[in-house]
Structures are given as C-alpha cells and as structure tokens.
C-alpha cells in the first residue's frame, strides 16, 4: 500500500514537476517606483529590499529552503497605479502575495481595506496611517518600527534637549514646513497638542506638491524668526527647502528634518548649503554592517544587485530597504516556525508572523544588523513595535549620527492612536479584536 502510494506520489510529482518546484517559493511583490520626481526614494528602498532577498537566496538558499521570488511593478507613487499593481500581484506565486510594502502613504490608505479583505498584510514602515498601530482595529496593517506621530514627539524632545530642557520650550516659536498631502498633514494634531503642553508656538507652513516653489514660505520664516524649523518634506521639496533656508540666512543647524527628508539624495543637490542640517532616521546608512558586507559578497560581487550606480550602495534609502527586507524575511521565518518549516506561507499566516515578530539585540547580532535598526517587538496591541528614532547631521560629505535611539512620548502617541482608531472603527462598524483571546 505504502509503495503504491509512493508510486502514485512519484508519478504525480513527475506530472506536476513545474507546480512542485513552484510550491517551494515565497512571492513578495516589489511595487515601488523607478520613474518620476520620487524615484530616488522608490528605487533606493526597492533596491534594498530586493538586494536583501537576493542575498538570502544566494547565501542560505532561501528561508528553510523556500526561495524568495519577487516581481517589480511600477506604481509611479500614484494611488491609482498603486492599486492596479496591488490587484495585479496579489494572486501571484503559490500562495499569493505574502506582504505588500506600498512605500507611499497615499497608496497605503487606498489599500488598507482591500488588503484586509484579501487577508494580505501591509507593512508601511515609517509611513502610512499612524493609527493603524492599534492592531485591534487594523489587524492587517503594520506601520512598523516607528510612526509619524512618534517621530513628531521625538523631534520636539530633541529640540527641547538642545534648548536645555523641555521647560525651555516655553515661548519658543517652531515653524513646521510640510508637504501639503496626507503625509505632511499627519503629524499636525500631535504637534499642536504638544504645543499646548510645552507652551511653544507652532507655525504650520504648507508647501504644495511637488515643492520646488517655496519662496513665500521662507519669507514668512524670515519674518517670524522661529527658533527652530521642522522640515517634513519629500523628494525635490527637501533640497529646495535647504537652499531656500541658506538664501535667507536661516541657520541649517536649527532645521530638523523628518526621516523622509534625511537621505543623501535630499542634501547632495543642495550642495554646501546643506552642511549642518539635521534629520531624524530609524535606520543608519553605511556599507560596513555585516549584513551589508554579505549583500556585497553574495550579490554585487557576482555581478548582480539592483544598483547600476554603485555609490548608492549603503545609502540611507538602500539600508532602509534592507531593513524592510530583514523585517519581511524574519516575519516569514517566524510564520514558518509556527505553520510548518520549509513551506510557503499564506498572507494570513504572514500576518501572525509579523504580529509575533521579535527582533531583539541578540537576533540583530545574528543578522549582522546591530545599529542598522532599533530592536523590534510587535504585538497584537502594538503594531508599531519600537518607536525609536535617531538623529543625524550632514557634515557636507556624509551623515553623522548625533544621538542615541530616542524614546517617543508613548503616552501621548498611544492615546491619540487609540482615539483615531476608535473613530475609524465606529465609522466602519468594526468590532475591535480582543487581544487577550486572539492568538491567530
């Protein structure tokens, strides 16, 4: 009987050889952007995540023998194209799309409901809807590592520290120059609340897309003479802002950028004007981390790799993509450990994998990524997992880290997250999950 079964199995295996091979694959879509005004961010981040997956395939032969596969789809940072790409890739691979990194706050918003219905997790690492950190209302959305609201509180804290204590913020003026979009507006409620708490005056200044015209805003800054400027830009808006600041003679040391305003691509076009400019970040640049050296050895030295321009290797966007790769593959590994090693997992299982992800210092060391990213521990309640932010300063040639990992104001952020998530749940008639009961 056993032999017959084996024989039947062998015949079946032979007949479906193609399918059987495909069964050992895990499909991760690469919906990023390689054209348009935001291409440096899209191609850098996308390059990082693909490079990391390629390295895992080359070095370890995949995850427990399951090869990672991917397919690129151009979203142009455009919501409609992003949705089209999502629909195109979601059924690909033996188990469908494992996880989606939309790499756009707008696309993330557009996909929240669709992905939840299709049971495909969304990882919006350092962008997207902040209140999705409440995993009870948003089971399939993970704004991992840190969110805009956490970042806003850390930036205020950083400015306070520089001023010599949070009480020194009283009476100070802080200008907030932001990209006039969902992305730029997201932190305003938190900044306003903190203004009340610490007694500083917030001057919000919107810059319309794409942000290459900012004279009016910087003229206002010149008149108001704020003590600090928070720059919340994206793409071409960042170097333009730095150049405009130099033009009116506003000291760059007093400008603090968000993490999407703090890459090499944001300061290099501004030339010497950018020297001294500070920005936040949740990952560090560099090509000396062991994991980056592995990518070099197993991918680039074999003539593969995503970047034709090798100077982009180890840049902020590149390592940010590598961090996304680490998070993705670790979650897959985690899910395999529970649902069967060496088998491709479904989106639903991946959701469990991300929700129970724990990348502590020990694991970071094994991954060769100590210092590249903060430790991460996700739970059903907390889909953010870390919240830590570091600050870096541009010295004219490279980014220099100038702070340790800094804690956000967790109480304030969490209260606002729960408020916003509760409102969403009410609008959508969602009953929040009970995290105590929910294990799957």
């Amino acid at each position: 009987m056993k032999r017959t079964l084996a024989l039947v199995g062998a015949v079946a295996a032979f007949a479906f050889a193609g399918a059987a091979v495909a069964q050992k694959e895990q499909f991760v879509p690469a919906n990023f952007y390689w054209v348009g005004p935001y291409a440096p961010g899209g191609s850098g981040f996308g390059g990082g995540i693909i490079d990391y997956m390629a390295m895992i395939n080359e070095r370890d032969g995949g995850i427990n023998g399951v090869k990672l596969t991917w397919e690129k789809c151009e979203t142009e940072y455009n919501n409609a194209r992003g949705v089209e790409c999502y629909e195109r890739v979601k059924k690909k691979g033996p188990t469908g799309a494992t996880v989606i990194h939309p790499l756009s706050t707008g696309i993330t918003y557009s996909l929240i409901e669709k992905a939840t219905a299709d049971k495909i997790p969304l990882i919006s690492m350092g962008y997207g809807r902040t209140s999705a950190a409440d995993g009870r209302v948003f089971p399939y959305v993970f704004p991992l590592i840190t969110t805009y609201w956490s970042q806003a509180t850390v930036i205020i804290k950083f400015i306070g520290q520089k001023a010599g204590g949070m009480d020194k913020l009283k009476g100070k003026k802080i200008a907030f120059v932001y990209h006039d979009s969902a992305y730029g507006k997201e932190p305003i409620p938190v900044l306003t609340d903190m203004a009340k708490q610490y007694g500083y005056e917030l001057i919000p200044l919107a810059v319309p897309h794409p942000g290459n015209e900012q004279q009016a805003q910087w003229l206002q800054i010149r008149q108001a003479k704020p003590d600090n400027v928070i720059l919340w830009g994206w793409g071409v808006m960042n170097p333009t802002a730095i150049k405009a600041a130099a033009k009116i003679g506003y000291p760059r040391e007093k400008i603090v950028g968000a993490w999407w305003s703090g890459a090499e691509e944001d300061v290099l076009p501004a030339g010497s004007a950018a020297k001294g400019y500070i920005s936040a970040g949740f990952n560090l640049p560099g090509s000396d981390f062991p994991v980056m050296r592995d990518i070099k050895k197993f991918v680039y030295d074999k003539g593969k790799g995503e970047f034709e321009d090798k100077s982009r290797f180890g840049s902020i966007y590149h390592t940010r993509g590598v961090v996304a790769g680490i998070v993705t593959t670790e979650a897959i590994r985690n899910a395999q450990a529970k649902f069967g090693k060496g088998k491709p997992i479904t989106g639903e299982q991946m959701r469990w994998g991300i929700e129970n992800l724990n990348i502590d210092d020990k694991r970071l060391k094994e991954l060769g990524a100590v210092g590249l990213m903060p430790p991460l521990k996700v739970s059903c309640l907390d889909h953010e997992g870390s919240g830590l932010v570091k600050f870096q300063q541009w010295d004219g040639a490279k980014w220099k880290t100038i702070s340790d990992w800094m804690e956000p104001d967790r109480k304030l952020v969490r209260t606002k997250i729960e408020e916003d998530a509760a409102q969403y749940a009410k609008e959508k008639n969602i009953t929040p999950r009970d995290c105590a009961k929910d294990s799957m």
Binding site: N79, R88, D180, A182, E427
Partner: protein, 358 residues
C-alpha cells in the same frame, strides 16, 4: 457588405430620429451591452474588473462631463479634477451626516454640489473666452483643493485629510465584490451616457453647439447666453461630480485630496482631445487610451522580456513606456487631429462601401 443600410426603410419620424438608425448598429450596441453587463462580470477576474475596467468607466464618465462643456458648449475648462473632488467629498459627507442616505442619493448629492460649484466658477465664462476662461477655471482647481485641505469638516476632521468611503449597500445588498462595484459603475455610466447622448440631440444640445460655433451669432438668434453657458457648466460638473464619487466609492475606496490635482484635470482633457472633442463615443475611446494603454505597455514589456528571454533594467522599461506613450499621442494627433472617434467614423463610412469602393 455586412454593414449596409440598403433595404431599411423608415416610415415614421420616430424611426428617423432614433439614436442608432441602422439595424446593424442596434444589434452591435445590444451585443455590447450584453457583453458589458453579463459576459464581462462572468468571465472577468478581479484584477481586470477592479483595476482596469472600473477605472476606465469612471474616467469615461469624467471625460464625458468635460466633453459636454468643452466639446459641445465650447468652454475650455481645467477644473475637471476639482469637480470630481467636490463630488467625492460631498458624497462622503452626505453618507456620513444624513441618516439612511441611499448610496445613489449620495452620488446625486455629490453631483449637485459639484454642479453648484461649477455654476459659480462658470460665471466668468459670461465675459471671457478660450484660454482666458481656462485660467479662470484653473482658479477653481486650486480653490477647491485648498478648501478640501483646509476645512476640516469636509473630511470629518481626519488628521491627514483622507476620507474612507463607506460601505455601499443598496436594498440591503452589500456591494463588496469588485464585480458588484463594476456593475454599479456600469449602470450609472450607461444611464448617464444615454442621457448625455439624448441631451445633445435636444434643443439644449443644439444651443450648446450654437454657442460653441459662434456665440455672437447664437445670441442674435435668441439663445440666452447666461442660461446656456451656466447650464453647460452645471451639467458638465454634475457628470464630473458623479464620476468623482464613483472614483471614491467604487474604485479606490479611500481618497486623499491629492488625488484630484491639476494632473488629473489635464489627463481628462487629454482624454477628450485624443478621443474626440464633441463626441460621446470619443470620451470612452479617449479614456480607454489614457487609462488602459500605459498598463498595457507595462504588461507588454513584461511579456516581451519573458518571450525574448532578456532582462532589461526596470528603470529603462519604465521610462521607455512613458516615451512610447508620449510619441503615440503625438502620432495620433498628427494622423487624426479630430480624435479616435473620427477614425471610427471614417472606418464606418468605408465599411458601408466595402468591398466595392466605387
């Protein structure tokens, strides 16, 4: 040979006035409707329905709206995206704030609000024409986006200005599947396209065209300028508003104000220029070209890569798509400046003679 009207006699005025006077056209239209309503939902998979055909229909409706204003009434407008935005946000507010609001009612509210905005921004058309009017409607584009961004009430005080469309339910049936949303969109678009076709054949439509061809002459023969122009703005904005509401409810689900930027206005304008200015069919052809063709190019480059077994750099592929798309637009405009609809018309005329050209 097949497409010939010989032997089809008309004995009443009604027969003479019908939209499709030739029997073959009627059959073709009936087949098209059956395919759209029955075959497509039955065989189309989710990707085709939700990512390709539904947005195509929605943009057709927006292009149709602009075509009524620009193609038929001759008033150039760059405010299409703004009217769509008004439609989307007001439909959302109608659903949110009015208890037991039916979804179709919300679409109509969205459309009416857009029409009201359209009338206000159409007022300058009484004094200025052509490109100058386009600049005035540009003000509408910027003002509406500014208002949506700044007035918290419009987005229900969402911190990021993003609205999430409510669930669509008609008579207790929830429209969750992409097939349902496609059918709803198709029904709305078909009804409104039929209405537009008939409107353009009516006295109002002829008044629009008279204004377009020469407004001084039109006013001399007794066509009221103010009423006609503002009506054109109102009807056009209503169509765009409903298209915007469909965009939010049946397509994206979640909309940020940035979805309705000037870029979108230009896209819709290009649709009618390529499809055919002053043609209902042209709106559909143009929308198909602008929305579906880039995606087709994208897929085609993948197949090509697969078939030839070569690997091209993704950045090169993405950029060459834009180049091919742009050059095709220029090609079409040189070959047939009156748009794809005119090409279709020529084809039909040739078909009537075929296979005996003389």
């Amino acid at each position: 040979m097949l497409y010939r009207e010989a032997g089809q006699f008309k004995s009443t005025y009604a027969q003479d006035l019908q939209i499709l006077p030739i029997a073959q056209d009627r059959v073709a239209m009936a087949v098209l409707l059956v395919v759209a309503f029955v075959v497509v939902p039955a065989v189309g998979d989710q990707y085709w329905l939700s990512a390709l055909i539904t947005p195509f229909l929605i943009f057709s409706l927006a292009a149709l709206g602009l075509n009524i204003l620009t193609g038929y009434a001759g008033q150039l407008s760059l405010g299409t995206a703004a009217f769509m935005g008004v439609g989307a946000f007001m439909a959302y507010n109608a659903m949110l704030r009015i208890p037991h609001m039916p979804i179709v009612g919300a679409f109509i509210v969205g459309g009416l609000c857009a029409a009201a905005v359209g009338v206000v921004f159409g007022l300058p058309s009484l004094r200025i024409k052509g490109l100058y009017l386009a600049v005035a409607t540009l003000a509408c584009q910027f003002f509406v986006l500014w208002a949506i961004n700044r007035i918290g009430w419009l987005s229900n005080y969402s911190s990021s200005g993003v609205i999430t469309a409510q669930r669509i339910e008609i008579l207790g049936y929830a429209f969750d599947h992409s097939r349902d949303k496609y059918l709803l969109t198709l029904a709305v678009v078909s009804v409104m396209a039929l209405a537009a076709k008939n409107l353009m054949r009516s006295e109002t439509g002829r008044a629009f065209m008279a204004v377009r061809d020469m407004d001084v002459a039109a006013s001399v023969i007794g066509i009221p300028m103010m009423k006609t122009k503002l009506l054109a703005f109102a009807i056009s904005s209503f169509y765009c508003g409903v298209a915007g509401a469909l965009y939010a409810y049946c397509y994206l689900g979640t909309v940020e104000p940035e979805a309705f930027t000037l870029d979108l206005s230009f896209r819709v304008l290009f649709m009618i220029i390529i499809g055919g200015v002053g043609s209902i069919l042209g709106s559909f052809l143009g929308a198909a070209f602008i929305t579906l063709f880039p995606i087709f190019l994208n897929l085609a480059s993948k197949w090509l890569e697969h078939m030839l077994g070569i690997e091209m750099s993704h950045a090169v592929v993405s950029n060459s798509e834009a180049i091919i798309f742009g050059s095709l637009i220029i090609f079409f405009l040189i070959v047939e400046p009156n748009g794809l609809a005119r090409l279709w018309q020529i084809t039909k005329e040739k078909l009537r003679l075929w296979p005996f050209p003389h």
